[in-house]
């Protein structure tokens, strides 16, 4: 089960024509897919479209997708999802896939390039969650480059539900009209924006997948093999591109807001519309409804551009500002080129005034837009103070000063995370054997590079932790190289790129696979090796079987990572082994976030019903703790913090375990494994104890009270 359930919300996907659909952006996308008669959907989870996969999964489990004959797969990778669109090459079937971009697009690009070469008959839509800017977890790049290199069309609609739904519907039609796959880009806030739109009836696909299969079509002119591949390239420029531009123009996919007319204007990506309007509001140039006197050309399609629309918008203006997020400035360069070729002399401003890189929040846009209007706006369009000048100077200065004294609070391993003991064990091993190179992977486990572990030297991409250590397979270094990958990355590609690669190349490196039962970092989705039963998927396929299946003979599974001593010993054995071939250690323990999500409601329910429930937690005996913080240096658990020393004669603060402790036991284990400290204790918190337990507790309390009285008596001087 994923982190968030949409079981209730997906019921709204059934609403009919004319009714008002209210909800989140990703739900609107799903409804739009059903309204468009989509036949099949696939994808790979990752922010900001993880919830789209979760919505589709819940809609499948509730039987909603079946009602309209829609096939849904939780694809093994983005490449698998992109390849699924092959069903739209020969048949007029509409298909949609989704992933996090640009990383997912990187993975999918082989299939995408083949798909866009041969082209499609049925509408093929790729919904890319553009993970750019605030809160992003990946390198900062643009999907735009992929659209240009493969000649896929790129939609970037205004972030409101009506525009997003229209983009899905037009996306399919544009794809069919131009025989080209279409990408629909949604930024993180667009995925989660709430709003409403007037729904249409859902449509059963026509033909259905089964009907298409009954009439197989082979058309070798659609298969990328020379000489046809050369013909595909000609088709792209000779017919598909012009047909796309015609569709975009005829259906007014791009929007012009004339404002009060005038001879300056803004050209902007549709996805930035809300931020631009807010920036104009902050400058006093837009009202609460978003109306502005400034003319706007909104590119709801950012590739291909419609040259004559841009020429028409710019020709009567002295200057325009191109608002384009990210770099390089593809659109700004294109706009220059389009206007100059058309002999239009309008001045084009852009990255010279706006930040060259980084997210365009309203506050990032303010100063650039203001600078443009100060220079070119004339008396009617003068902005109010922008940026820091808008703020009270005293407050702004104080704010900057105060912020500087607050320590960073980076995200890290959750309380009780089973990966913490693994990296604690690696740390202990490094203390014993000296520092060694660790090749990391994408996932929660990459938090290992942060304090207190500082473990990890590189990360090359999802599932590529083992491949990232391949070059170090040399006799002098083989016992000093370790790589890490998660179960998500393992099934995504790590089995071949990491394990198979190591077997084939006779690598002696050590590879750790973290098997925590979920694709945790993306929201707790199930995987092939998940322990959970999932009626729609096949789970419970052991990683060890797969690893042995590709030829690894040295495999050790550690079933409980909290046993730090055992993890350390197995890793030491792996590093010391004289056996040839890769050494694979599978470190198992359930993701604590998902475990708690399941366990907490269960315990709460038991307590409410008056039934006995036991919760474990750890504590530190303040009288024993020396306050040397050695436990923290090997743990970094958020529930381990400092408290005043209860002993008035000692000033050093002591360690304290706060309420968030989930009783994983790691702090005690690592302290024991490192022979650090006897001050940790485990307590069982018993809710609704039995009569016997109550009696024993009373006895214990009496004994303690008696001993305490005696102790006081003894200490008193006579």
């Amino acid at each position: 089960m994923a982190e968030r359930s949409f079981a209730k919300e997906v019921q709204d996907l059934r609403i009919g024509a004319g009714e008002t659909f209210r909800g989140e952006g990703i739900l609107a996308v799903t409804k739009a897919l059903l309204q468009s008669g989509v036949a099949y959907v696939g994808g790979y989870q990752g922010a900001p479209i993880s919830h789209l996969m979760d919505v589709l999964g819940d809609a499948q489990q509730q039987g909603i997708l079946d009602e309209w004959g829609v096939h849904f797969e939780s694809s093994a990778s983005e490449a698998a999802a992109a390849a699924m669109l092959a069903a739209s090459v020969n048949y007029p079937l509409r298909g949609a896939v989704t992933w996090k971009s640009p990383v997912g697009t990187n993975v999918a690009s082989d299939a995408l390039a083949n798909l866009s070469s041969g082209g499609v008959k049925g509408g093929a839509l790729v919904i890319v969650g553009e993970d750019y800017g605030e809160g992003s977890s990946i390198m900062q790049e643009r999907t735009h480059a992929f659209a240009m290199k493969s000649q896929l069309w790129l939609l970037d609609p205004r972030p409101n539900l009506e525009s997003i739904v229209a983009a899905v519907e037009h996306g399919f039609a544009l794809s069919e009209a131009s025989r080209t796959p279409v990408m629909l880009e949604l930024r993180i806030r667009a995925c989660h924006v709430y709003g409403e739109f007037t729904a249409k009836a859902n449509r059963t696909p026509s033909p259905t997948l089964a009907e298409a299969l009954a009439q197989p079509i082979q058309d070798t002119t659609r298969i990328t093999l020379p000489p046809v591949a050369f013909q595909h390239e000609q088709e792209k420029v000779a017919s598909r591109w012009p047909d796309a531009v015609s569709y975009i123009r005829e259906h007014h996919l791009n929007e012009v807001f004339q404002g009060a007319g005038g001879d300056v204007g803004l050209v902007l990506q549709g996805g930035l519309y809300n931020s631009v309007i807010r920036a104009l509001q902050l400058l006093g140039l837009a009202d609460a409804e978003g109306a502005t006197p400034l003319p706007l050309y909104v590119m709801n399609v950012t590739y291909p551009l419609v040259d004559d629309e841009l020429v028409a918008f710019c020709a009567d203006k002295r200057a325009v500002l191109m608002v384009e997020e990210g770099q390089p400035d593809f659109l700004e360069q294109a706009l220059h080129s389009i206007l100059r070729k058309a002999g239009v002399a309008t001045r084009v401003e852009g990255k010279g005034l706006l930040p060259a890189a980084g997210e365009y929040t309203p506050f990032a846009l303010e100063e650039g837009v203001a600078g443009f209007l100060v220079a070119h706006g004339g008396p009617d369009l003068q902005p109010g103070p922008a940026g820091s000048k808008r703020l009270d100077p005293v407050a702004a200065e104080a704010g900057a000063r105060l912020q500087g004294v607050v320590p960073e609070r980076p995200a890290g391993f959750c309380t009780g995370c089973p990966e913490r003991p693994l990296f604690g064990a690696i740390k202990l091993l490094q203390q014993e054997l000296g520092e060694f190179h660790v090749s990391c992977d994408i996932g929660c486990h990459l938090f290992s590079i942060l304090p207190p572990f500082h473990v990890g030297n590189t990360t090359m991409g999802y599932g590529l932790g083992a491949a990232g250590s391949a070059a170090f397979n040399v006799p002098s270094g083989r016992r000093k190289v370790l790589s890490v990958m998660g179960d998500g990355g393992f099934w995504h590609n790590g089995l071949t790129s990491g394990i198979g690669n190591a077997v084939f190349n006779k690598s002696d490196n050590v590879i750790v696979i973290i098997d925590n039962g979920y694709s945790s970092a993306t929201g707790g989705q199930d995987l092939l090796s998940s322990a959970a039963h999932n009626p729609a998927r096949s789970t419970g396929n052991p990683i060890e079987n797969a690893v042995r299946g590709v030829g690894v003979s040295w495999v050790r599974t550690v079933p409980w990572t909290y046993d730090v001593g055992q993890v350390r010993d197995v890793l030491r054995d792996a590093l010391a082994s004289e056996e040839h071939g890769p050494k694979v250690v599978i470190a198992q323990s359930e993701c604590m976030l998902n475990k708690q999500r399941r366990e907490k409601p269960r315990i709460r329910a038991r307590v409410r019903e008056g039934k006995r429930a036991v919760r474990q937690r750890f504590g530190v005996d303040a009288d024993v703790c020396t306050g040397d913080r050695a436990c923290m240096r090997l743990s970094g658990c958020p529930s381990l913090t400092l408290a005043d020393n209860p002993d008035p004669l000692r000033e050093q603060p002591v360690t304290q375990v706060v309420d968030s402790c989930v009783g994983c036991g790691y702090c005690g284990e690592v302290a024991h494994a490192a022979v650090l400290c006897p001050s940790f204790y485990r307590a069982d918190v018993v809710h609704n104890p039995s009569l016997f337990e109550r009696a024993v507790d009373r006895l214990r309390q009496r004994a303690i009270d008696w001993l305490a009285t005696r102790a006081v008596t003894v200490e008193r001087p006579t």
Partner: protein, 197 residues
């Protein structure tokens, strides 16, 4: 309508403290008053111990959810260093309600960074108008640490452009639906929060 007719509330804290729930309740209460409401949050890493901020904006018509620095009317700080981190979002006449709880991040616990000394004093020195109190102490006094959220909402209740009782009703309504036995204690926590501010 100008920006100044919109009420901007910034809720800040750490993952797991109930920042997002508090913001959701505020948004619901404002919606029930007939306001147009927008809300946004940065919470991607929240559950993994990171900081959380939630922006709530309401007024006759609000298009954008994010609060600009220097424009928040009210800041609700669930942790005192987080309040210090974000207090520059307040406008000069804005008010901060700060829980004096200090949660040292692991980078402080392991000795890499210092936790700020006297965060409340620093904010006061900078001219921030604030009410600081130990919401945890109040909650524990009432018998349940989980009441902190209700205490904090009670604290800002008299600074909203609608009656405090309406916010209280909104909170109690949630408990009535999910956990009716917790209604009286939450009512007490709400009033205790009002008193604290």
């Amino acid at each position: 309508m100008s920006e100044s007719q919109t009420t901007n509330i910034l809720v800040v804290g750490i993952g797991g403290q109930g920042v997002m729930t508090a913001a959701e309740i505020l948004a619901e209460a404002a919606l029930a008053e007939g306001y147009d409401v927008k809300k946004t949050e940065v919470a991607g890493m929240a559950q993994r111990g990171g900081m959380v901020t939630s922006h709530v904006r309401f007024g006759e018509r609000v298009l954008s959810p994010s609060i600009a620095p220097g424009t928040a009317d009210i800041m609700v700080g669930f942790e005192v260093a987080e309040a210090l981190r974000w207090c520059h979002y307040l406008r000069p006449e804005g008010v901060a309600m700060v829980n004096t709880l200090q949660l040292a991040p692991p980078v402080v616990s392991v000795g890499l960074f210092e936790y700020p000394d006297d965060p409340v004093g620093k904010m006061r020195e900078a001219g921030v108008k604030l009410y600081a109190f130990d919401a945890g102490e109040i909650a524990r006094g009432l018998g349940d640490l989980r009441l902190v959220n209700t205490v904090m909402l009670g604290a800002i209740a008299d600074h909203l452009p609608f009656p405090a009782e309406h916010l209280r009703e909104r909170i109690l309504e949630r408990f009535r639906a999910r956990k009716p036995e917790a209604v009286p204690i939450n009512e007490q926590a709400f009033e205790a929060g009002r008193q604290a501010a």
